[in-house]
Amino acid sequence: MKKILIADDEHKILMSLEYSFRKIGYEVFIARDGTEVLEFLKTLIPDVILLDIMMPNLDGYSTLEEIKKNEALNNTKVLFLSAKNNPTDIEKGLEMGADAYVTKPYSIKKLISQIEELFNS
């Protein structure tokens, strides 16, 4: 069973994502901000991490930096999920080493297939 860690400060968005990924057989972990993510990562090695960028306490960018330092997570796919749409933000996210940058609002179906492609490539 693949593990997915989802981080977003909006409860209703988390709800939808949690439901959808549970439906297709993932083990889902929920975090409300970057610090909770790092807390998880002390003991968990997920297969996928979905990161919102604008989160309190520790934002998505800083969280990704920390993730990159962790060698154990070299095979983990990290995707940004953000309402920040302009090309500069997308470029920045990808340059930081995210495997993908998904803009809100997104289609959950498309998100799922994107993740699958990442595992196949």
């Binding site: 400060d9 909006e10 209703k12 968005i13 709800m15 939808s16 994502l17 439901y19 959808s20 439906k23 610090t35 604008m54 309190p56 306490n57 520790l58 309402a83 920040k84 749409n85 302009n86 809100k104 609002p105 997104y106 289609s107 959950i108 179906k109």
Partner: protein, 893 residues
């Protein structure tokens, strides 16, 4: 008393002191010294010579008030210096003028002959005057040492003193060749002498008043017993007054034109602002002298009554009478100071004139053809050195053979009258454009002729040969016709000579137009303030000249390095390519100026003329060009002003533009945050919708939850959109406030009731504190409800379970103060102001992202400001307080 040897030693020490001061001043050149206006002002006191020190006392004792004009004349004239001398200084600086002759001759076309004539006039006037000083030194020397005058020059101690002075002057006076270089050493020595002579006369004066007598009134009482006292000390009707006035005019003219005064006041002036100090300092100096002369003179009369003693030397004789060697010697030194300073300065300035206007142009220009700069400079210096020496010797001879029997006073006055003949040309140069060369020269010569006839001949011929008859005497007697009954000889001659001089000058200048060259200089002189910035442009010249030829000449006197430097500055100033081969009028003027500093304007002109070929221009053309140039200068000024205005305007536009750009960027940023805020609820809605659409067997409760999400998030979206639009309207003043008198407590209750149950749900304790004296205030109730709603809602969000919200209402002066306190986390210091920004998201971790639009506080702030109040947040202990301050009264609708 004192032995000759001892006094001679004193004199040597004194001269050594002068030498030391001059040497130190030259060496140190400290700023205090150079920029000191008092040194300048003191140096002007070279006006007070032995004549002042001894002669005036003689006059005061014998003819009473007639000693005053010599001082009163200058005191009356000097205030005008603030205007006149400033201009003269500027003209002289710009044209590198090195002497009085240069100044006058340049103005009238820079004629070599005119400058030669002026030099000769100065020689005739001043050499006897120098002789006067030597006479004073010699006689006082013998008085103090109580030795008889020796007939043999070689054993006469005065001779040696004179020699020393000549050596001193020729060394320090010729150190600098260029007119623009100031002789700091000499001027410092002169200033010291001026100080000493005043100091010593004060000592003598106090000695006479308080020691020889019992105070000023004592002298006055005793002296008034003299039969002639009253007569001498009042004006004897019109006769006395007129004589007096003309004597004042004579000395008033002299203070401006005497070569030594022109030299110290103009040539050695370092800063124009020094003139301001001189204007009060110098008259004050003269007044002090006048004050003490009176008691000394009459004290002398009283002491030496009945004895046949020369009143001119009362100042030496009085202390000697009381056997006070110290004061006698001090007075002697004071007199020595006054003589020596006069001799030095006059010798220097005369030598400059003689070398620049007589020797060089009429003999030695040829000598400068092949030499190099060092050689040439040395030649010029040597010529000047010899001139100084020669002049002093000449004066000495004059003293020995001519003035032995004449009084100091009359020689001095005659000298003034002769030099005064230069006055019409001098003042005309400054103020009258039409003054022409011919007029000036002829006027001058006529005036001189009258002086010669009226003063010199009787003085020197008739006093020595009382019985001369013959043609000369007859011609002379014929002129009795011109006698003015009220005036004595000297004022009378002064009156006639100046009258004829000025008359001829005016008539001839008006009837015969000068050539264009004179007119050119006339414009430059009279309008110096206009042309001072680029005076080279004011010089009209047309013809052919080559830069290289002129450069050669310059190098011969300035040296290669200085010439190159000067030319570089010139090229930069007028934006001229250094490769230019031909010289224009500006360059001609520029070169003449440079040379004039070394060898005088007349010789400079001759040298430059030698390598250029001038075309004739008509006077009319010159005047036209000058008019144009003047217009250009005014136009230029206007252009510069306009350009400044435009620059200012452009700057203003720049900053306005920047503001617009910033506003624009802020708007972009705002739109960005709006988009961001909108996308979040839309994402929730879409995700919920997608799931509901695709999943057939979704559990019912989850289904309901998702449907709920869609609804609430849609609401939220609405709220955001509404708030954004509302805030925009508020900011643009599009929401008109509906201000009426309302009851604040009731408004508060209205705002509170919708959220009361939410507050109770969180078990929060809410209370109000009422400290009001009145309840009716002026505001828009709907907005106020909205405001309370926002703030209370905010408090609700951030208060923990079982926390407290407290509202305190109070008044202060004209303001209503509402404080809403809630327990809960503090807001970070740096965020206290920023939370009122739109969509503000704290960088700091401790703020829970509020639900709602994120615009609540921004809207609150705008609402408060619309009421002319203010809102702020601060941390208070265990929670946060929002303070709203509103004016009690607001403009009603």
């Amino acid at each position: 008393m004192m032995s000759s040897f001892a006094l001679f030693a004193v004199v040597l020490v004194y001269l050594a002191l002068l030498f030391l001061v001059a040497h130190l001043a030259e060496k140190k050149k400290s700023k205090i010294w150079i920029n000191n206006p008092y040194i300048y002002a003191l140096s002007l006191a070279v006006y007070c010579t032995a004549w002042t020190y001894y002669g005036s006392i003689g006059v005061a004792a014998t003819s009473g008030l007639n000693y005053l004009p010599i001082y009163i004349g200058p005191i009356m004239v000097i205030p005008a210096w603030i205007y006149i001398n400033t201009r003269i200084v500027r003209i002289s600086r710009v044209n590198k003028i090195s002497s009085l002759a240069d100044f006058i001759a340049l103005r009238y076309g820079n004629s070599r002959s005119f400058s030669a004539i002026i030099t000769l006039v100065c020689l005739f006037a001043i050499v006897p005057y120098i002789g006067l000083q030597i006479k004073a030194i010699s006689e006082t020397f013998h008085l103090v040492t109580e030795t008889p005058m020796s007939k043999n020059i070689l054993t006469d101690n005065a001779t040696f003193v004179v020699l020393l002075i000549a050596l001193f002057s020729s060394y320090y006076g010729t150190k600098y060749v260029d007119a623009s270089e100031k002789r700091l050493g000499i001027i410092s020595a002169i200033a010291l002498e001026s100080f000493l002579k005043l100091f010593f006369i004060i000592i003598l004066g106090l000695f006479v008043i308080y020691f020889a007598f019992d105070g000023f009134s004592d002298i006055y009482q005793k002296a008034s017993k003299f039969p002639d006292f009253k007569a001498k000390n009042t004006f004897n009707g019109i006769e006395g007054a007129m004589n007096w006035m003309i004597l004042c005019m004579i000395s008033g003219t002299a203070i401006c034109i005497l070569p030594r005064q022109f030299h110290t006041a103009i040539i050695e002036n370092r800063q124009e602002k020094h003139i301001k100090t001189a204007i009060w300092f110098f008259p004050l100096y003269l007044l002090i002298f006048t004050f003490f002369i009176f008691p000394i003179a009459w004290g002398g009369r009283l002491i030496f009554e009945g004895q046949n003693v020369n009143p001119e030397f009362y100042s030496i004789l009085i202390p000697q009478h009381f056997n006070n060697t110290l004061i006698t010697v001090l007075v002697f030194l004071g007199g020595l100071s006054s003589s020596v300073s006069m001799i030095i300065i006059s010798a220097i300035t005369l030598s400059i004139m003689v070398s620049n206007n007589l020797i060089i142009p009429y003999g030695l220009l040829g000598k400068f053809k092949a030499e190099n700069e060092v050689q040439n400079t040395r030649n010029i210096t040597n010529i000047r050195k010899f001139s100084i020496f020669g002049l002093v010797i000449l004066a000495f001879c004059f003293y020995k053979y001519f003035i032995l029997k004449t009084s100091l006073d009359s020689v001095g006055l005659i000298s003034f009258v002769i030099i005064g003949q230069l006055a019409p040309a001098f003042f005309g140069a400054l103020f009258w454009r039409r003054g022409s060369y011919k007029g000036a020269v002829i006027g001058l010569l006529a005036g001189l002729a009258i002086c010669y006839f009226g003063l010199i001949i009787p003085q020197y011929y008739f006093s020595y040969n009382q019985d001369v008859k013959g043609a000369l005497r007859e011609i002379y007697d014929a002129f009795q016709f011109f006698d003015i009954p009220y005036l004595t000889r000297i004022p009378e001659i002064f009156f006639w000579s100046i009258l004829i001089n000025t008359g001829l000058f005016t008539i001839l200048s008006v009837s015969m137009k000068g050539d264009y060259r004179e007119r050119n200089f006339a414009e430059l002189y009279v309008d110096i303030d206009k042309y001072i910035q680029n005076h080279e442009n004011a010089f009209i010249w047309r013809g052919t000249a080559y830069v290289s030829d002129i450069k050669n000449i310059l190098e011969r006197f300035l040296g290669k390095k200085k010439t190159e430097q000067a030319m570089r500055i010139f090229n930069i100033k007028y934006n001229i390519d250094s490769q230019t081969e031909t010289a224009d009028s500006r360059f001609i003027k520029f070169s003449e100026n440079l040379l004039a500093g070394r060898i005088g304007t007349a010789s400079a002109k001759i040298l430059i003329e030698g390598v250029t070929k001038e075309d004739k221009i008509s006077l009319k053309e010159v005047l036209n060009i000058l008019e144009e140039s003047k217009e250009n200068i005014t136009l230029n000024k206007k252009l510069i002003e306009k350009s400044e205005e435009l620059k200012q305007l452009s700057n203003d536009l720049s900053s306005a533009n920047e503001n617009l750009i910033i506003k624009d960027r802020q708007k972009d940023d705002f739109l960005d945050s709006v988009a961001h805020e909108l996308r979040t609820p839309i994402t929730a809605i879409r995700s919920a919708g997608e799931i509901l659409a695709d999943d057939d067997d979704i559990p019912l409760d989850i289904k309901r939850e998702f449907l709920n999400n869609i609804i609430t998030e849609s609401d939220r979206l609405s709220e955001i959109i509404n708030d954004i639009l509302y805030l925009d309207k508020l900011q643009h003043g599009e929401i008109a406030l509906n201000i009426h008198e309302n009851n604040i407590i009731e408004t508060y209750k209205k705002a509170l009731s919708p959220i009361l149950h939410l507050i109770q749900q969180k078990n929060i304790h809410i209370s109000e504190v009422d400290l009001l004296n009145q309840y009716i205030f002026e505001y828009d109730e709907a907005r106020m409800i909205q405001l309370f709603h926002n703030i209370l809602g905010n408090a609700l969000k951030f208060t923990d379970e079982q926390g407290t919200i407290q509202t305190k209402l109070s008044e202060k002066d004209d303001f209503l103060i509402i404080k809403v306190f809630n327990t809960g986390k503090n807001i970070p210091e740096e965020d206290l102001e920023m939370i009122f920004d739109k969509f503000y998201q704290s960088k700091n971790q401790n703020i829970i992202k509020p639900t709602g639009s994120g615009l609540g506080l921004a809207i609150s702030k705008r609402l408060v400001e619309a009421h002319s109040g203010n809102i702020k947040a601060e941390n208070s202990g265990l929670g946060v307080t929002f303070t709203i301050t509103l004016p009690k009264k607001n403009q009603k609708q």
